[in-house]
Symmetry: C2
Subunit: 410 residues, 2 copies
């Protein structure tokens, strides 16, 4: 493959970025790549304690794909050194020390997920243990000396904890510097991240400057909010759509997002063209249409990306039938054998049948019918006097929110 690496790509590569530091940094790097006829080295860090990717990660990964498609070199850095240490105090249960084998396993899980977006055969993969296992304490002190306490503590997470008296272990201050040192070692030209990674990416620039080598350009992408519409998408908050979620889960989670998230989901999660995205957003803006139709378009597109069009159609169908129409799936039905029920002689009232199969009192069944929470063969029954001439096998009765019963013969 032959590439030009030219500055003409700058607008497209910066599309969707919230911050480029320095503002002309990416343009300058592309200029160098073009003059030297070499690809840019674009850094992607990976924390092996968290191998599961979600749509929030995908925002950055898709931007990396733009670089990769133009021939630039993505270098994935496996944070093995730090993952093997874990949290030495043992206080952070989310960071147990990992063995070499666990790191390798998580890295392979990660690469498999990356392959949903990137061409993994063209990635360079390096472990930071390569350089940190042999770094001396002296090198480390030189590195620490390049930063002041105030610079590191200005990070929102640290300053908040310090203010609130929540202990910060000293080694936590060091980890961002190690990430920054990675940029120096791999001679990173560009580091991409979410806006929450901005300070980490800038540490990389600072280390490179201190070492007297060219500093990387930093491109920070907008953060995708999670399905709850509150915090940024994250596994620990539980508001995430995993890249390996099943088509049905993925579709369902996307359908559950608050309407006001739609514009950012249209932009950050779909693979639609700019024109298609603008058209969708325009439809939203007019307010005439039920946003659910637009949500479905987003969900469909996302499932297509990570699974297939076929899977997306099936997921859409499932959603329509079982969420919109509230039809339970076959496996949700409790099968009740007709002969085992103690029923009065026919005709049998719905109250009698319901009390027998749900093992509830007749007055409860009457109240549920009154509340509209009972249906027969998918049709809600409002009449507490509803009566069966005879109860046929195959009859489906819903009683209350989750009580699905199917009468079977016997």
């Amino acid at each position: 493959m032959s590439h030009h690496y030219g500055q003409d790509a700058v607008a497209s590569l910066e599309a969707g970025a919230v911050e480029v530091i320095p503002p002309d940094g990416l343009r300058a790097k592309l200029g160098i790549a073009s003059r030297e006829n070499r690809p840019l080295i674009v850094k992607l860090g990976f924390d092996p304690t968290a191998p599961d990717l979600h749509l929030g990660h995908a925002v950055v990964l898709k931007k990396l794909r733009d670089f990769q498609r133009r021939g630039h070199q993505i270098v994935v850095i496996i944070g093995e050194f730090t993952a093997r240490i874990g949290d030495p105090t043992g206080k952070n249960k989310a960071r147990p020390p990992l063995s070499r084998e666990q790191v390798a396993e998580n890295a392979s899980t990660y690469l498999r997920q990356l392959s949903l977006i990137l061409d993994v055969d063209r990635l360079a993969v390096r472990s930071n243990a390569e350089w940190f296992d042999t770094l001396t304490v002296r090198d480390m002190i030189d590195l620490l000396a390049q930063f002041t306490v105030a610079q590191i503590m200005e990070r929102e997470d640290f300053s908040r904890r310090y203010r609130e008296g929540v202990p910060i272990s000293l080694h936590e201050l060091v980890y961002p510097l190690l990430q920054g040192y990675d940029s120096y070692v791999i001679e990173s030209d560009v580091e991409l991240g979410g806006m929450d990674q901005l300070l980490n990416c800038l540490v990389g620039r600072h280390v490179q400057e201190a070492k007297g080598v060219p500093a990387q350009a930093v491109v920070c992408m907008r953060l995708l909010r999670g399905t709850d519409g509150q915090d940024k998408m994250s596994k620990s908050v539980g508001n995430y759509v995993g890249l390996t979620d099943s088509p049905i889960d993925m579709y369902g989670k996307l359908m559950s997002i608050p309407d006001e998230l739609l514009p950012e989901y249209i932009d950050l999660t779909t693979d639609l063209s700019l024109e298609e995205r603008e058209a969708l957003k325009a439809r939203l803006g007019q307010g005439a249409e039920n946003p659910m139709a637009i949500k479905k378009a987003v969900a469909f597109d996302v499932v297509c990306q990570y699974h297939s069009e076929h899977a997306a159609e099936a997921a859409a169908e499932h959603f329509y039938r079982q969420v919109q129409k509230k039809e339970p799936a076959a496996e949700d039905y409790v099968q009740v054998t007709l002969g085992t029920l103690s029923l009065p002689k026919p005709p049998v009232t719905l109250v009698d049948l319901g009390a027998a199969i749900a093992r509830r009192s007749k007055s409860e069944i009457r109240r549920l019918i009154h509340d509209g929470a009972v249906s027969v063969n998918g049709e809600r029954v409002d009449d507490a006097g509803y009566t069966f001439e005879s109860v046929q096998p195959g009859t489906k009765v819903r009683i209350g929110k989750r009580g699905y019963y199917e009468i079977i013969a016997g």
Copy 2:
């Protein structure tokens, strides 16, 4: 030599200490030494960038001498590793990186000075480069993880700088931990320091606890204020009496201290017995006596310790003649050859002679006589009409504050 290392020594070893941590820590360590019939390991750290010792250091060193005389093992740790790094930012001019040779030279200067107080042949001397040159980054991160930012920042110097926005480099936070790690490596039982070293000594305890070994007892001594009576004695402030100052300088600096410092100088700088010290302080308290006599006793005792009784006598004599009596030293006289002076025929007035030798106007000489600033052969002359029948070689004339002249033949 056979020793008992017993707990009966605890009162004497704690005498003069401001803090012992934990309160029964030294007693417990002496109990262990006695049971195991082994000397205690007593740590003494040395920063090779500052090899000059003064009376402030001597307070701690004399306490170490008490331990040494009871057979305990003093381990001197040369802070070579950190001295060779210096200040990697280059901003702290007081901490340039030192070469191996410079460290060795400063260490030998230091040991020579230690020999004024301790038996240096019985010291164990170790360089911290021995363990830090091979420490891994992983070990270092484990060490850092044992401390929180708040613990280290509570040190007065750090918290003040942080509050005032004076940059603190991250590596500065690490240096106290390295000192603490020294305690772990040498299996320190006791660390001594001035009160300004209390937090550093406690870091040593903390590291030992984190490593699962017994924590050292910490004994902190009172800080000696400098000769200005303001700050603690320190070379950088310039208010110090160096252990290698000449007898005359030492005596003179001690005579210059404010009277209110006498009680602490009696206790912390002299080698007098408890009874003698109390007697001196009692004489002070009565207020009947000029404190200068007591200051002389202190100065005499100190010069005896670091030089000799003979040197102390000479220093006292010098002080009496040249400071109290304001007699200049021989080398302070400007020799004036009689034949070179243009003088009127005898008898010669003091005004004429003074004007000729000091190259000043007669009216100036008259004013100086009036001000009491002129003397002949050590006797002040108040009479502006004072006249010499003839000017004899050997005559000494003082004109003004610093104009000492001796007439010589020729």
